[in-house]
């Protein structure tokens, strides 16, 4: 990923540069697919009574009506196991690593499909709603990881995303509640996030303070401040200060009528749409514009950038404030985009999960989106599995997103390389 080489837009979600996939890892992925294929065939196929059926609801009024999909559990298990195993064998047998992650992802999808069919045996699963819920759980993570990308691509570690979330959620709820204008709430959230982005930039760029420590301090400060203000200000004046409306889902005409896809993608609230736009904008900005080239050069080799006339500190200042702004908007989505009220520590550590999504996505917007979708899916999956009563203990299901993180980061992504100057204070020579 040299600076001087032209760099294409990241391809599929999570798909990294093919050059870093070793042959050994590809074979490992193939073996893994074969193993889960066997598991699917045995656990979901052989162990299930022949007559068991599962029904996936693919759209019910008021959304587009699509006939439900009724499947024999055993049949699906066998087909999916065969597909999964075939893809595994393909991975092991073929030469070259290009497309390995795509093949691996398809294999995993086949496995998950057969697992879901098994979990829903004898009953219905609202598949469309499950995907829609995935998107909703994904949204704040996308804002958080884009904020991280903006900062870290320019060489500043933003571990304060959680704090910027809280600040954005708090101020967004309060301003939207007082003014009755939701867009002012979004603006207030952005301002609050940007303010703490500026604080991070000020302390770490002006004084060269350790960025991790400053970040942790900002999170602690935001937590304490919002807790304090919640108890002292919001609670006594709940009705005026902490009762904002929330953004309603907006159906996009025509495309919302597409079966399955319509209700999932095109009937969401503005935060979801804005997140999608931001992913594209940041990606194009970083990899296709002069601005992006400058940002990346500052993040990789600030001294070289300085010698060609780029003002390193200004670039970093601007990016860290912008990153804070994005996180602040994401914070506002917790209140005015979701539950319509601020409560203490309501972001519940998602700022850190967003950071993990950024790393898992290799500091690329589409990669981070893919990672965030995976986390979002595991949240939604956990909820549906609990309702379907698959008999897996609830704390174990709650652990699932983190198990997936560990598995993915350790086994799949391999060694990830942050921007070379990430976290290193810049001093002119």
């Amino acid at each position: 990923m040299s600076l001087l080489e032209p760099e294409g837009v990241a391809g599929l979600p999570g798909s990294p540069d093919s050059r870093v996939v070793t042959a050994g890892r590809v074979r490992g992925m193939g073996a893994f697919l074969v193993a889960i294929a066997v598991l699917a065939a045995l656990a979901f196929g052989v162990a299930t009574p022949a007559g068991a059926h599962a029904t996936f609801t693919l759209g019910a009024p008021p959304a587009v009506a699509v006939a439900p999909l009724e499947m024999s559990v055993r049949f699906v298990a066998v087909v999916c196991a065969l597909v999964c195993a075939a893809l595994g064998v393909l991975l092991v047998a073929r030469r070259g690593a290009r497309g390995s992650y795509l093949i691996f992802s398809l294999g995993v999808v086949a496995f998950v499909w057969s697992f879901l069919t098994w979990a829903a045996r004898g009953t219905d699963l609202n598949f469309v709603q499950m995907l829609a819920a995935t998107l909703i759980s994904t949204t704040p993570l996308v804002y958080g990881s884009l904020s991280g990308i903006m900062c870290e691509r320019s060489g500043v570690i933003n571990i304060a995303i959680e704090g910027q979330f809280l600040a954005g959620a708090f101020l967004g709820a309060m301003i939207a509640s007082v003014t009755g204008d939701l867009w002012l709430g979004v603006l207030a959230g952005a301002v609050a996030g940007a303010a703490f982005g500026w604080l991070l930039a000020f302390l770490s760029l002006r004084y060269g303070a350790d960025q991790i420590i400053v970040g942790v301090v900002i999170v602690a400060f935001c937590t304490g401040l919002t807790n304090f203000l919640t108890a002292q200000v919001l609670t006594p004046y709940q009705a005026t200060l902490n009762s904002p409306q929330t953004f309603s889902p907006i159906a996009i005409p025509l495309v919302d009528k597409i079966p399955v896809v319509g209700p999932v993608l095109f009937d969401q609230n503005v935060f979801v749409y804005l997140a999608a736009v931001l992913v594209v904008v940041v990606n194009v900005g970083l990899f296709r514009t002069r601005w992006g080239l400058r940002v990346r050069s500052v993040g990789e080799h600030p001294h070289a950038a300085e010698t060609v006339g780029i003002h390193v500190l200004s670039v970093r200042y601007r990016n860290v404030v912008l990153g804070g702004l994005i996180a602040g908007i994401g914070g506002a989505s917790f209140t005015i985009g979701s539950v319509g009220e601020f409560s203490s520590e309501m972001t519940a550590g998602l700022g850190y999960v967003a950071l993990a999504a950024m790393i898992f996505g290799r500091w690329r917007p589409f990669g981070a989106l893919g990672a965030a979708l995976l986390f979002g899916f595991s949240v939604s999956l956990q909820s549906f599995l609990a309702v379907l009563n698959v008999g897996i203990p609830s704390p174990f299901l709650a652990m699932a997103p983190y198990v997936i993180t560990v598995a993915v980061v350790s086994g799949l992504v391999g060694r990830v390389r942050p921007p070379a100057a990430d976290g290193v204070p810049y001093r002119r020579e």
């Binding site: 609202n126 819920a133 909703i136 602690a220 400060f221 929330t246 203490s344």
Partner: protein
Amino acid sequence: MNDQHRNDAGARHRRLPARATVVLATAALAATGLTAGVASASATRATRAVAHASHFLACEVTDTGGINDRSFNASAYLGLQLAAKKIPGLKYTYLSSTSTSDYTPNINALIAKKCGIIITVGFDMASATQTEAKAHPGQKFSIVDFTYAPALKNVLALHYETDQDGFLGGYLAAAMSKTGKVGTFGGQDIPTVTIYMDGFVAGVRYYDMLNHAHVVALGWNPAKKRAKGSFAGTGVFTNDFTNQGLGKTDATTLMAQGADVIFPVAGSVGLGAAAAVKQAGPGHYMEWVDTDGCVSAPQYCSLFLTSVTKGIAPSVEAAVVSAAAGKFKGGNYNGTLANNGVSLSPFHTFANKVPAKVKTELVKLKADIIAGKVSTDPNSYPAS
């Protein structure tokens, strides 16, 4: 009032200097200065309160849900406020726990403040309370949501048989459901939560049996074989009492799977469920938990069929009043339908929408449960 901030800030200060540069230390001071300053000011005020109040200081340690959870922490605090209205000069304060590791330090901080009685809120605080109560036999405690066996002399343990009113809530939900599915979820898989869900499911099953209906309760599946007094099973839990987003996710899931009445047993996380039910639009209702939802979360009153409550505030108030009057007695208190320790709240906006027949049946059911004629164990009835 805000000593929790002081504790937090203090802990962070202690950790920082070893690694921090002078600049960073300044930054940290600037960052935590505001809350620390405010907290120490309020600490001084509290100390003065102890010195001058000739009478009594009643204290509460909240669970992680915080003082404003519209649920049991808030109810216990309301109990303190009610007691203060009854006894002139009675002062009260609280400490928030942001994690389970705060319980013991918070209790100790309050012991040091010479609280006349310390109310600890929640099942999760049982062992911390027991340890401290044994270590300080002269300190009076009262714990919400627990029973000690054997009973402790200096702790009044307040327990509520919420399966009784949960049963009534389940019956009402089943009667009001149009889709034939109702749903519940909990904040955590602990007995004080699952006892509600258990009663709820039992009420639904009893409704089915009585009316030859097939209403299904989603979200809680009581174990078929279990010890007497156990509320074991599997179900939907947010495993979190602060993240309202998870409550919204779980409620949305239950509605996606067909439920049209949602009963969240998760404190403030239930507000996320309320947001989801509101968004789902007409035809979706819920029942609030612990307190009367139309009082504690009035913005969602139009969604609440009723609330399945437990009388935390009155029993905490009684504990504080008795301690202040020097008549405190440790032991176990059991709230039931019979002593109004648990109850179904008024129907509020649904007063005219709940059929008269159902209202009559609920009154009779309540009497039958009190008389022991109707069991609140879901395994007494066939699951549909």
